[in-house]
């Protein structure tokens, strides 16, 4: 597999997280729709599949998430989001989302392990962020179930968790872009040779 594809794939994942993590809105319509992020992830899976065969397993899940977020985004134009309407769908999307990001970052860490230099620790950072992300996503959903009992305390805890989640998003993108830079340097090195 060419470094070019790897470079492009990692870049797409990094930009994808921008759309997934950040949610700038005008009224209820998001300017950074999450479905774009998932389309970028799907495209990145195509680019990186030769490096990580396991990534292929994420494709159906990525499609489900892209369609779900796409419909949600379209619905937001009419103030009709899909979240919270059907318990079954909410449960499934929550689980798929959790697994998708866990596996994606695990596979990216595996790619990083192979292509980073000895001094770099992109893989360890990605695995660390993956763990924090998994715990926060789970905690946010669980807190949601207790809201009617814990009231204001839940709001404070959720706000803190969201804050950590956003910081995590920035850190994650930073590592991915740094890894991509490292691949670029490698690519330029190859060209010079």
């Amino acid at each position: 597999m060419g470094n070019e594809k790897r470079y492009t794939g990692i870049g797409k994942v990094a930009w994808g997280y921008l759309f997934v993590y950040f949610n700038l809105k005008i009224n209820s319509v998001s300017l950074l729709p999450a479905f774009v992020g998932y389309l970028l992830f799907l495209s990145a899976i195509g680019d990186l599949r030769e490096d990580e065969r396991e990534l292929e397993l994420l494709k159906p899940l990525g499609i489900i998430l892209a369609v779900w977020h796409g419909l949600n985004w379209l619905g937001s134009f009419w103030n009709a989001g899909l979240g919270g309407k059907w318990q079954v769908v909410d449960i499934l999307i929550g689980m798929i989302n959790l697994y998708f990001h866990f596996q994606l970052l695990t596979n990216l860490a595996s790619v990083a392990r192979r292509y980073q230099s000895e001094r770099q620790v992109f893989d360890k950072k990605l695995l660390g962020y993956r763990t924090v992300q998994t715990v926060i996503l789970t905690a946010l959903i669980v807190i949601g179930h207790f809201f009617e009992w814990i009231g204001n305390f839940g709001t404070v805890v959720s706000a803190l968790a969201v804050l950590v989640y956003l910081v995590l998003g920035i850190a994650l993108m930073r590592v991915l872009f740094a890894f991509r830079r490292c691949l670029r340097e490698d690519r330029q090195g190859t060209e010079y040779l």
Binding site: L57, V88, G94, I96, L98, Y99, F102, T134, T138
Partner: protein, 651 residues
């Protein structure tokens, strides 16, 4: 479970969850490890142990609706509750439904007995076995130690085709006599021993017995046992390399003896010929899962378990227009889970004159009568969902409702006076004289009490009609009674009338039909889990002169100052002094002070002060114990008195 209906709700809820779990398992078949594939059944197990529908909650689908519909079809109006996940017969059967429940309980006993017989048969066979030699046992002990498993008793039994573990408290590893089973088979059984799979097997058998007539649950129980085997296969495969793994698959294929395949209280590697094929497929998919897989497995499990076990509260009952049965079933399956919710549903059943809303908060005794009343109107759809709420003229829906003087009566009951505005005066047209200033309220004392896990509303009287000058309930209503604190001093009876008005919601501003216009609209859909949002506390002080006329003529100014004293609090040392003529004041803490100049021939009652405040409902304090009060005559403090609660005045 005390009747067939509660069993139906329980088994339907579990079935819904089972379908979801099967779907999730299919989705994550090649993604999450066999340990998770088995562990996910624990969610179903928890759900089976957890009485469904508690607090009106439901999982995934409102199964209560289907059951209530069925009950209405057969003319059963009792409220269905699941208290206990195990069936209990507590009365002699009377109806067909009772007999069906007896049939179901017999089925549970028969299936349980079948497992017991099968287990006893197995124990008899094991009785013929003998301990293995000390040398062989030592070899097994060393082998088990390598995998950190504590070896149990090992016996050889003639006539068996494979090894298995039997017994929960004192497990025994059983080997076929005269054979030396492959180490991989022994390893598989040792992993069963390590993970206490015999116990899991027994639990699964109990669940299978409890839901014996539900093929989906029986299927899931079989799947769970197969997943348990696949999990042990995974543990074994993780210890093996290349050719050995294929060899393990070949050993599994060669086993087709089902003799003790699903005996409760044992584990057997050959769990049925049909299932072995699926396990071979799993072996073909074998891979070592990355580090950290345990975390995501647990998190995915939590995301599945929490919503299923905790369920959601029903939000709103659906109105199926022409079908009384469907609408009534929907209302009955949307019980009020808070006392505020019960007041809201009752009040809105009055405002909207909607019989279905009344069913949400009606007692069990009223359900039949209400359903029959509604059913009489089924031929005239335009007349639905109207019910005779007892008002002689329609209410003014847009004004909403308020509950006056709400008090807690014991642990699980509240009483208050429900008030709604009327659309026009209740008297005959000739008595109305076109006086548009006249407004009328309909009031009724209502008790709301907890009936097991739902709140029901019980009107304590017929509606009474009260003329008022208030256009809204925002600041109480002087024409309605309050909670009265009273005391006598210095020839005066001082009364502090305290009124609390509980409100759940105000009319909402919504977009009008024309662009950029807005309307005010009162939402008449009940909130069965609603809570009162705010409380208006209104109070005013009256002084009534009780002394002789001679002394009365000497009084030119009357003033009072009072402050509430709550339980456990000390009374304030200083009260505000009412000064000047015709003044009044109040504070957020409930203090009041006022003074009024009186002219000859006044009285005998003088209103002195008044005030009020709005607080969030959850901040509303208990009623004061008493009011410490000072009486001022002609600008001088003449006496002090404590105003105490006058019992029974609310009525």
């Amino acid at each position: 479970m005390f009747d067939i209906w509660s069993f139906m709700i329980q088994t339907l809820t579990v079935s819904g969850a089972a379908v979801l779990i099967l779907g999730v398992k299919a989705l994550f078949k090649d993604k999450l490890p066999p340990k998770w594939q088995f562990g996910v059944w624990s969610v179903l197990g928890i759900l089976m142990l957890f009485p469904t529908g508690l607090g009106g909650r439901y999982s995934l689908f409102r199964w209560q609706f289907l059951v209530e519909l069925l009950k209405l079809w057969v003319g059963e109006y009792s409220v269905t509750r699941v208290w206990f996940p195990v069936p209990v017969i507590y009365k002699l059967p009377e109806t067909v439904a009772d007999w069906m429940f007896v049939g179901y309980v017999c089925g549970v006993l028969v299936s349980g007995l079948r497992y017991v017989v099968s287990y006893v048969k197995l124990r008899i066979v094991l009785h013929m076995g003998r301990e293995i030699s000390a040398e062989r046992r030592e070899r097994f002990r060393e082998f088990a130690g390598k995998y950190e498993v504590e070896l149990c008793r090992v016996i050889e039994v003639p006539g068996l085709s494979g090894a298995f573990v039997c017994g929960v408290l004192r497990p025994v590893l059983v080997l076929p006599e005269g054979e030396d089973p492959d180490d991989k088979i022994i390893l598989h059984e040792l992993f069963h021993l390590k993970h206490k799979d015999v116990l899991w097997n027994v639990i699964i058998c109990i669940f299978r017995c409890l839901h014996w007539c539900n093929p989906l649950i029986v299927y899931c129980a079989n799947r769970a046992i197969n997943d348990m085997e696949s999990r042990c296969d995974q543990y074994v495969l993780e210890q093996l390399e290349g050719e050995e793994r294929r060899e393990y698959g070949r050993i599994l294929l060669s086993m087709a003896n089902d003799r003790f395949a699903r005996t409760s209280g044992s584990t057997c590697i050959n769990n049925g010929g049909k299932n072995i094929g699926k396990r071979i497929e799993a072996i073909a998919r074998f891979k070592k899962y990355p580090k950290g897989m345990g975390l995501v497995s647990v998190c995915v499990l939590i995301l599945l378990a929490f919503p299923l076990v905790m369920g959601v509260r029903p939000v709103v009952a659906s109105d199926f227009r022409d079908s009384v049965r469907l609408s009534f079933a929907s209302a009955r399956s949307t019980p009020c889970t808070t006392y505020g919710g019960a007041f809201d549903a009752y009040a809105k059943s009055i405002l909207a004159q909607n019989g279905y809303y009344r069913a949400m908060c009606a007692s069990e005794q009223l359900q039949k009568e209400l359903f029959q009343e509604m059913q009489k109107k089924e031929g005239a759809a335009w007349y639905l969902p109207f019910w005779k709420c007892g008002l002689i003229v329609p209410p003014d829906v847009q004004k909403g409702y308020a509950v006056f003087n709400l008090t807690q009566e014991g642990e699980n009951a509240y009483e208050g006076m429900l008030a709604v505005m009327l659309a026009y005066p209740p008297g005959p047209p000739e008595e109305q004289n076109g006086d548009e200033e006249k407004l009328w309220l309909a009031v009724q004392n209502v008790r709301v009490e907890k009936d097991y896990d739902r709140w029901v509303a019980l009107p304590l009287e017929e509606f009474r009609y009260v003329e008022t000058k208030n256009y809204s309930f925002a600041w109480g209503c002087k024409e309605l009674p309050g909670i009265v604190y009273t005391g006598e001093v210095g020839g005066f009876r001082i009364e502090n009338v305290f009124q609390r008005v509980h409100v759940m919601e105000h009319p909402a501003t919504i977009q009008g039909k024309a662009a950029l216009t807005f309307d005010s609209c009162y939402e008449t859909t009940p909130k069965p889990s609603g809570e009162f949002t705010e409380v208006t506390e209104m109070q005013y002080v009256n002084c009534t002169y009780l002394g002789d006329e001679e002394q009365k003529e000497t009084i030119t100014r009357i003033g009072v100052s009072l402050a509430p004293v709550y339980e456990g609090e000390a009374p304030p040392e200083v009260l505000r002094m009412p000064y000047g003529a015709d003044m009044a004041g109040s504070s957020n803490s409930g203090e009041q002070w006022g003074s009024r100049d009186v002219k000859p021939g006044w009285g005998p009652t003088v209103e002195l002060s008044g005030g009020g405040t709005v607080v969030p409902a959850d901040m509303a304090e208990e009623l004061p114990m008493y009011y410490v009060t000072e009486l001022y005559l002609n600008g001088e403090k003449v006496a002090e008195v404590d105003l105490t609660l006058q019992k029974g005045d609310r009525e």
